[in-house]
């Protein structure tokens, strides 16, 4: 029960100005610009866009600045801003097969059409702090190859799907309009589109831990990174007044296809199964974690026993949203004075009774 308390208005107003001053810090130091955050901390921007569920790098940069670098707070700001904008369109499904590739690897297959393309990855960096970055004036120049990467790189899973080695994922009959978590409450059992939408907006840390747990044995997935690709995809919509699709610009996404083993059953021969991750920007770790958790949540579909947290739909899907989690955890800061007072009285009574009982026993024993 929350108590409506009065007073504190000027304290609150003053906390705003103190916050603003603290956030700005020493004014002798140049102020952060949105352009800097956007250009030089793109992975923070990507995370905020992904979990904020709003692809707008400038707004995400603003949120990060306003939140003084607290990304979960920034995600909150972006989600809140989202609610002020009307929905005008639904895009055609993003075609990741036609992505302008900036990175594309597979740990399952060595030789792919188009090759293994590392891109701007941290994977091969030595994790040693680079003190050269403490100075400014960096003007690094990337090496250019004589020829560009292949314009079109087919998805590994599509190629193998055609060969029958991996089940090819096809849309159901009629290619139905998917469930929308922003419009309908989540109900169980959840459909795959509902799960994927939930995971795409989910907290990276939570999904990473769940994915990790699934690899350590709390699940049965034995995953391989079939393909990870990052790059730009075109967004297309069909404006009502035109009746044909138009290309409204590019966004960057990272896609992870995991390939997992399935033991098979009496009726079904052993075959590979798949997990899928798709996120805004270059949040590769999140895409991988999403694919692992997607696969774990498909346990029932493959007749697997559901006995691990990562396979438990309700446990996973109800706790992925860091806004909800943060809200409930932080709500504890709201006044609970009356609640606590009544708890205090109860504990005092029980202690008194406990002590009275103890002294009675002592008397009886004596």
């Amino acid at each position: 029960m929350y108590v409506a308390v009065k007073g504190g208005e000027s304290a609150i107003v003053n906390s705003w100005s103190l916050l603003a001053e603290t956030r700005r810090g020493d004014t002798a130091i140049p102020e952060l610009t949105l352009a800097q955050i956007r250009a030089q901390m793109p992975l923070a921007v990507d995370r905020v866009m992904g979990e904020g569920s709003l692809y707008d790098p400038e707004l995400a940069a603003l949120a990060i600045k306003q939140a003084a670098g607290d990304l979960v707070e920034a995600i909150f700001l972006l989600r809140a801003y989202r609610t002020t904008l009307p929905r005008l369109a639904v895009s055609l499904p993003l075609d990741t097969a036609r992505m302008h590739i900036r990175r594309r690897i597979s740990s399952a297959f060595k030789d792919l059409p188009g090759g293994q393309v590392l891109g701007p990855t941290y994977d091969y960096t030595q994790r040693l702090l680079d003190f050269k970055l403490a100075a400014e004036g960096q003007r690094p120049a990337a090496v250019q190859a004589p020829e560009p990467v292949a314009a079109r790189m087919p998805r590994v899973t599509d190629l193998l799907g055609k060969e029958g080695l991996i089940p090819f994922e096809a849309p159901p009959d009629g290619d139905p309009e998917p469930f929308d978590l922003t419009r309908e409450p989540l109900e169980f059992p959840a459909s795959r589109p509902a799960r994927l939408q939930n995971l795409a907006r989910g907290d990276e840390g939570f999904l990473l831990a769940l994915g990790y747990s699934s690899q350590r044995g709390y699940s049965n997935t034995h995953p391989f990174a079939g393909e990870i690709r990052m790059g730009d995809v075109a967004v297309e919509v069909i404006p009502d007044e035109l009746g044909f699709a138009i290309d409204i610009g590019d966004i960057t996404v990272t896609e992870c296809q995991s390939i997992n083993q399935f033991a098979g059953s009496a009726d079904v021969a052993p075959h590979f199964t798949r997990g899928y991750g798709l996120v805004f920007g270059g949040s590769e770790r999140k895409a991988m974690a999403m694919a692992l958790v997607d696969r774990s949540l498909r346990a029932k579909e493959f007749g697997e026993a559901v006995n691990a947290p990562a396979q438990d739909e309700e446990f996973v899907l109800y706790h992925t949203d860091n806004l909800e989690a943060s809200g409930f955890v932080q709500h504890l800061k709201l006044p609970h004075y009356v609640d606590f007072q009544s708890e205090l009285e109860l504990v005092r009574k029980l202690r008194a009774r406990h002590q009275a009982g103890a002294s009675t026993e002592q008397k009886a024993a004596a």
């Binding site: 922003t182 939408q197 610009g249 899928y276």
Partner: protein, 176 residues
Amino acid sequence: MNQTADSMQHATAATPPPDPDQREANRHEADSVRARQRWMAVLARASREELEAILGMLPPQPAWQWLRRPETGLAMLQGRAGGSGERFNLGEASITRCTLRTAAARTGVACVLGRDHRHAELAALLDALLQGGESVRLERAIEELAASQSARRELAARKTAATRVDFYTLVRGESA
């Protein structure tokens, strides 16, 4: 702008007409739609400054009428499970759209990612002017814009290519 299956807004495909003139007209229509899609994609990817510069090099335009003033909203982006399977709602992107009618009775439509009203306005105006097919200068400017966008993409693709792993250097150049 919605894709619901039971919507009456999207007319089902017409039965193919038999006569060659009609077929020719349809081909022409399809070509002009493709041309328009192409320049709209270029306009959407251009910066506001680039479009201002193009407008600046044209003669002053008479006032146009708004059918829909620039408005910013959301587009829900969809993906497919496994890249090819059932659709799911991935997350939203900010978009800005507008529709205008020029004095020459051309309707310009723009829908672009982001929240820049002026970008949408310029894209819609140029879309209307390009439909007229009268300005060679304009068409050339768009081609240049497309070429520079292509060049930027190609540069990025060459930097990316430098990070491609060559497992067998002997095989390089054999498979064309």
